[in-house]
């Protein structure tokens, strides 16, 4: 069971079947939030044996609801500790939500790419940024969390101050990544040269380039204030094929699957031994210090944070 954005090469799954004799049937169930909630509603009679795609923002809810039969693949011991957020599940990949900028348009506006999040409140950046609504978009929520981690509640300058200033600096809000990136971002014909997107968006532009790949990517990534999202796989409680399910989770952390991850889902493999294609490495910015928020804190405060944000920015 997985979400709409899951993508794997056919021959990789075929390799799993020929190794183990187990056929994998993929079941899709909406976006990550919808998928987790469907798994919670059906936990007494699970729809599948393995769930992939629960991320940092929904992990706590899923684990607390008891949908997992706790299992962390032995291979996870090689995975960096900051990705192993809960022993009930196995980290599979991670990616960063970062600001992207349109090189040409920023140059035309006469400003350098922002070096830090705080720069965005400078009048020089007035009317240049589009963000996604955290209530309806997962990168939108990730960016809100990045600001909460960067300007914490107990600091002199809080995330509320930041967003108040951003709202005064004419930030645009789109309801989803598609609208922000394809309609409002100047790179695709809109009028905002800064957009909340992924650190891996520039390599995706190269890989999927229409016609000849351009020599230089025309978008860049701001490496400050990136939110790191980890995606996990877990064995669903109540499965009657626990061994097969565990074998699949192990396989997902194995090299064959891991090396297939970057160019399919545009995220980094969790297994540090997996080789990453050059085109991905060359164009993906690696944030200097990505931020994150404890999943339990996200679960407790999600609704209230979003409500506060809505009051500050939209009302």
């Amino acid at each position: 069971m997985t979400h709409e954005s899951f993508l794997v090469s056919d021959d990789v799954l075929a390799a799993f079947t020929s190794e183990t004799g187990v056929e994998v049937e993929i079941l899709r169930a909406g976006d990550a939030g919808a998928m987790v909630n469907q798994a919670i509603l059906t936990k007494d009679a699970p729809l599948a044996d393995v769930l992939f795609g629960v991320d940092t923002t929904f992990l706590s809810r899923a684990v607390e609801a008891g949908i997992f039969d706790p299992y962390e693949s032995p291979a996870a011991s090689a995975v960096p500790a900051d990705l192993r957020l809960d022993p009930a599940v196995t980290p599979i990949d991670f990616g960063d939500v970062c600001l992207n900028y349109d090189r040409a348009a920023l140059e035309a506006a006469g400003v350098p790419p922002p070096a830090a999040l705080r720069d965005l409140t400078d009048p020089a950046y007035r009317g240049l940024l589009v963000v996604e609504n955290p209530a309806t978009s997962s990168p939108g929520l990730a960016f809100l969390l990045a600001t909460i981690a960067t300007f914490p509640e107990d600091a002199g300058y809080t995330w509320r101050d930041f967003w108040t200033e951003l709202a005064a600096n004419d930030v645009a809000v789109a309801s989803g990544w598609e609208e922000a990136y394809y309609s409002t971002f100047s790179f695709s014909g809109g009028d905002r040269p800064l957009v909340v997107s992924y650190a891996s968006s520039p390599p995706a532009e190269i890989v999927f380039a229409e016609g000849e790949p351009p020599a230089e990517v025309s978008t860049g990534v701001v490496t400050d204030g990136c939110f790191r999202q980890v995606e996990f796989a877990g064995v669903l409680a109540g499965t009657d094929r626990r061994d097969d399910a565990r074998a699949l989770v192990d396989f997902m952390l194995g090299l064959e699957f891991q090396e297939d991850v970057p160019l399919n889902m545009f995220v980094f493999p969790a297994n540090p031994e997996a080789a990453i294609p050059d085109v991905f490495l060359d164009h993906t910015a690696i944030p200097t210090r990505p931020v994150t928020v404890d999943p339990a804190a996200i679960e407790t405060n999600r609704e209230q944070w979003i409500e506060t944000w809505t009051q500050l920015v939209l009302r």
Binding site: S9, R28, N133, G176, G190, E303
Partner: protein, 541 residues
Amino acid sequence: MDAARPALTRPPPLAGLRVLVPAVFLGWFFVYPLARILGRGMSADGFREVLTDTGLLEVAWFTVWQAAVSTTLTMVLALPAAYVFARFEFPGKAAARALLTVPFVLPTVVVGSAFLALAGPGGALGVRWDESVGLILAAHVFYNFAVVVRTVGGLWSHLDPRLVAAARVLGASPWQAFRRVTLPLLRPALAAAGSIVFLFSFTSFGVVLILGGARFATLEVEIYRQTTSFLDLGVAAALAVLQLAGVTAILLAYSRYQERRTVEQTLRPVAEAARRPRGWRERLLVAGVLGSSAVALGAPLLVLVERSLRFGGGYGLGNYRALGSRGGRGGLFTSATEAIGNSLGFAAVATVLAVVVGMLAASVVAYRRDRVSRWFDALLMLPLGTSAVTIGFGFLLALGWPVDLRTSWILVPIAHSLVAIPFVVRTVVPVMRSVRARLREAAAVLGAPPGQVWREIDLPMIARAGLVGAGFAFAISLGEFGATSFIARPDRPTLPIAIFRFLGLPGRFGQAMAMSVILMVVTAAAVLLIERFRVGHVGEF
């Protein structure tokens, strides 16, 4: 007309099945799942939270008024086109009618991006309408135009033109003849189309989300947020009940009105009613109406075509070629042919389900005029007014027994048919009701048994309406996205799902647009083909 007609005119056979089949279908796949999910979430706290939160009440108010305005605008703007399609013959009419259906099936993500390309940041029209209600209303008109033209135009094309001619001879002006003769006769279809457009706008999701920016929300959007991001089933259930109550009230009022105001009449074959335009006035009218509709509906579609052809700095078919096969660099999760195959397969099953259930149900609604039929009628329409996420989550709780259908592919066409059945019913009922009882009585008096009366008098006319309904059902299934994406399902991407997934990745916009154009072509071709069927010997009905 009076409720108690002599038994011999009461039509068709299969009386028991006519109630049973739709009742079981809707009970199993709509009422029960709905009851389970609402039962799971309903709580006094949820209602309290909704009723005391001014933000949520504003959402409810916005939902109602934007739906009312969208409906009015659509009716007013589409009526001239309905008239032209009903009364005039012109070259390429069948193709034009099929093309008209195209906007109706395009996924909201696609239409949203076309509208933003026209009137968004850096838009081609040079105006900024994004984040305004204007663009939402325009998109609703764009989507629902075909519903009015086809439903109203369908009945209009069968009205006896001699009635208006007679009124004119007796000294009525064209406007008076329209108001006093045509309008009353069209009422069943006007009300039918209006109720569908209202429900569609009332439960609008993607359009509001994409074009309204973050500032507007309908109940549907709010239910989605509460269910999928907060899993707050209490508030979601309270909102869903609010939505259902509103929809039910509208539907009951509609069906009561419908029953009182239907006028029996002799429907005429299209060949008798439609003719080529005569004189410069009529030609100007036909050209003007068709031209302006083509521009208004065509502009967003042309934007999509143009964008699908943008390739590597110039224009070309590269995006289409890229859709040809799976695999390759970066992987392609489905080829265009696979997606077309999946979409056509689901649509065929959904259409059969919708036509069988819808026709049986329509005959109950049309011929039994009592409280039962009124409630039945409202029940049939309810799925249109229920949020996709509510039903999708309800399926999970309700369909595990007696057979576990929760992860079966059949759920996809079933969900599509729930949306399509109201269209079949709405296109068929007005025709069924308008078939003149005297024709039936005459046939019966001449010795035809009830079954034969139904076969020879009702069936040919009804079958034509049924085909229009089938075309709608097929188109609805081809374009359905919301419910499809919520249902946990085996990996068989339909065209809209494929479009959505391409849009989710940077650098694949062109391919998403190419896939959208393919969806447009497939839809137009399918609708054209379905409407080519002719039933009986009464001419084109």
